[in-house]
């Protein structure tokens, strides 16, 4: 059996097992062990790649995202262990909720990994739909009025989005079918991309509009982002971390696969300008919205919209350098944003509030947590020498080289967002402490955040040669 089946099988198996285990200690252990083994199996994919089949395939592009997903899935499960046990102790969650939560967490990882590895475009759609369903259930976990409303909104908006994406997928099949012939081959990405030059261009263009609106809703691109801040704010924090760090990437990945089909066709509508426009509007809107946030999780949810906007913009620009920057930014944002949510989870637990105005002086009351939170926010705001700075610099400079006028709104958006994040964080980290120093957290709960930050800082200073070569190869593929 090859490694990719393990990568899919382990979370599925863990999900089934976790649905049956009711002891909290045992289930957190199984959760961490399951994600760790999945991560190991995903590393094996780097060394040995299975032959593509009509259903699943691994290529240069998705293997890096599979490893990233498995890694963040693992670190989040470690963070979740500490977070969840405290929630249980404080009585926010019952035992039944926890069993459900753990089973869903693994099921969610399974659906994301399936979406990344799927060769069949229909299967990819099914996996993303399933990922939506599992996260809806997790967002509503606390059963509060706000949580139910957030879950409902998320569910309705993303279901409609995903339905439109299916319509787009059907149109792509319709375009492929006369050339590739009816049957599963016309749905397999590896077959479709080879012969897409002969497809009816107008049909592909129509399909892409549906796909952009459909999967774009899931990416959280403005003006389709309304579900995102609510879903991030009302669910448990580990879920916010994986939503921002992983699910948005997966939806964007799906969109990019279709963009590649259009690019290989040549005569169809150029997907670039549409993506550039949506990326810029997300960046601009989110940058201004950051100033008005008073909920700490919503603040960083809007920051996710901003960064997905930057990434979509970069891929929309296309070309080797912009694609490279987009890929790097995707990775860096994933790592940094989940690290921030780890810190936010601990902060909101020890302070007992999510209101930014009531969280002050963490650096004085809890120095290690406060300073590492500050470093993480500095990283996401794009300060050197962190990895996000590198990728944002590449986005801006590659834009300057080709479309100098477009670089201006990007720079403006980045600076406006930077100001908001630093302004909001300053009061939280410094000034007179509001949290009692007696409120403690388990020291190991910071380990996942340190791991992420170390990687982000390392990437900012030095990118290993094989990684650069890899990203370059993928950037070439993306066209």
């Amino acid at each position: 059996m090859s490694a990719h089946l393990f990568v899919l099988g382990l979370p599925l198996l863990s999900s089934v097992v976790l649905a049956l285990v009711s002891s909290l200690t045992t289930s957190t252990l199984i959760n961490v062990a399951g994600t760790f083994l999945t991560f190991l199996a995903s590393i094996a994919l780097l060394i040995h790649r299975p032959e593509p089949s009509l259903w699943l395939f691994i290529d240069d592009f998705n293997v890096s995202l599979v490893v990233l997903t498995a890694f963040v899935g693992f670190t989040t499960s470690v963070f979740s262990a500490g977070y969840i046990s405290r929630e249980r102790k404080e009585g926010h969650l019952t035992r039944r909720h926890l069993r459900f939560y753990h089973a869903m967490y693994q099921a969610f990882l399974f659906t994301m990994l399936l979406a990344l590895m799927a060769n069949n475009l229909g299967l990819m759609w099914v996996a993303i739909e399933a990922a939506t369903l599992t996260t809806v259930l997790m967002v509503s976990l606390y059963r509060t009025r706000e949580a139910i409303e957030a879950a409902w909104k998320y569910f309705i908006l993303c279901s409609v989005g995903i339905a439109l994406a299916l319509f787009g997928t059907i149109l792509v099949y319709l375009a492929a079918q006369p050339v590739v012939g009816p049957g599963p081959e016309a749905m397999a990405w590896t077959h479709v991309i080879k012969s897409s030059a002969a497809f009816e261009p107008a049909l592909l263009s129509l399909a892409f509009v549906f796909l952009l609106v459909g999967y774009g809703t899931k990416v959280g691109l403005a003006p389709l982002h309304a579900w995102l801040p609510d879903a991030h704010a009302e669910g448990p924090t580990p879920i916010s971390a994986v939503l921002s760090g992983l699910l948005l990437n997966v939806a964007l990945y799906a969109l990019l696969r279709f963009k590649m089909i259009l690019a290989a066709n040549g005569a169809a509508l150029a997907p670039g300008p549409l993506m550039v426009a949506m990326g810029l509007s997300s960046l601009g809107l989110a940058a201004f919205m950051l100033y008005k946030r008073d909920d700490i999780k919503r603040l960083f949810a809007f920051s996710s919209i901003e960064h997905m906007g930057i990434i979509t913009f970069a891929f929309g620009m296309g070309g080797a350098l912009s694609n490279f920057a987009g890929l790097l930014h995707m990775t860096m944002h994933s790592l940094t944003k989940s690290a921030i949510f780890f810190a936010v989870g601990i902060i909101s637990q020890i302070s007992g509030t999510k209101n930014i105005a009531n969280i002050r002086g963490i650096a004085t009351s809890h120095p290690v947590l406060g300073w590492s939170f500050l470093i993480a926010v500095a990283a996401i705001a794009g300060l050197p020498p962190m990895g996000v700075f590198m990728s944002e610099f590449l986005v801006v400079s590659s834009t300057f080289a080709r479309q100098p006028l477009l670089a201006i709104p990007v720079m403006a958006g980045l600076l406006i967002a930077f100001g908001a994040l630093i302004w909001k964080t300053q009061n939280m980290v410094f000034s007179k402490p509001s949290i009692e120093a007696s409120q403690t957290y388990a020291p190991w709960a910071l380990a996942p955040m340190f791991a992420h930050l170390a990687l982000v800082i390392l990437a900012g200073i030095w990118l290993p040669e094989p990684l650069v070569a890899w990203f370059k190869a993928v950037a070439g593929m993306l066209g």
């Binding site: 569910f155 059907i170 049957g183 049909l203």
Partner: protein, 221 residues
Amino acid sequence: MNIALQYDTAHLIGAMVLLFGFQLLYQRRIKAVLSTFALQAGALSMAAAWQAYIQNAPHLYVTAAIALVFKAFFVPFALNWLVKRLGIHRSVETALGVGPTMLIGVVLVALSIMLVLPVTQGASALTRENLALAMSVVLLGLLMMITRHNAVTQVVGFMALENGLILAAVGVKGMPLVVEMSVAFSVLVAMILFGIFFFRIRERFDSLELHYLETVRGDRL
């Protein structure tokens, strides 16, 4: 069988699905909305069965059966039961009046015909017409979701939208089974989900009007 008859029958059934889509737009009472949805699902089932017959694709009979059993009988029945249990079988307001809603509906149908027919020159006439009808049904479902504020009718709008998707999928020759099955499956899951949601909403707010949900918005945009 003669091609013209195949074509005309498929066209007729597809148009029936579309007509029920229009009817859904102006129904006021929840019970009537649910019956209309059941009829639409029945018409969809006929469309799928007809396509199975003329394309000689037996797996489409499965799609037809799922549409008939699950969507035409089980879902309306379950929702009716839910509505009775929650005691909300009164009429519900739409955001727009009947006239403007129907007008927008007509515009949407014209739009999808104008959009789909030119881009599918390469496909067979049967597929083209079917796709145009399916896209109209999808857009009408979307319109219904926008004009209704009640949770049950919004769900029906969503399922009408999915009916349009299945109509598109069965009309394209050789579409792999996975898609139809998964759509049907996702409806099942969605149904369970919605059920859970309804109960929770009921427990907390004593009403299914989404307006009551909108009092707490966090800092919405």
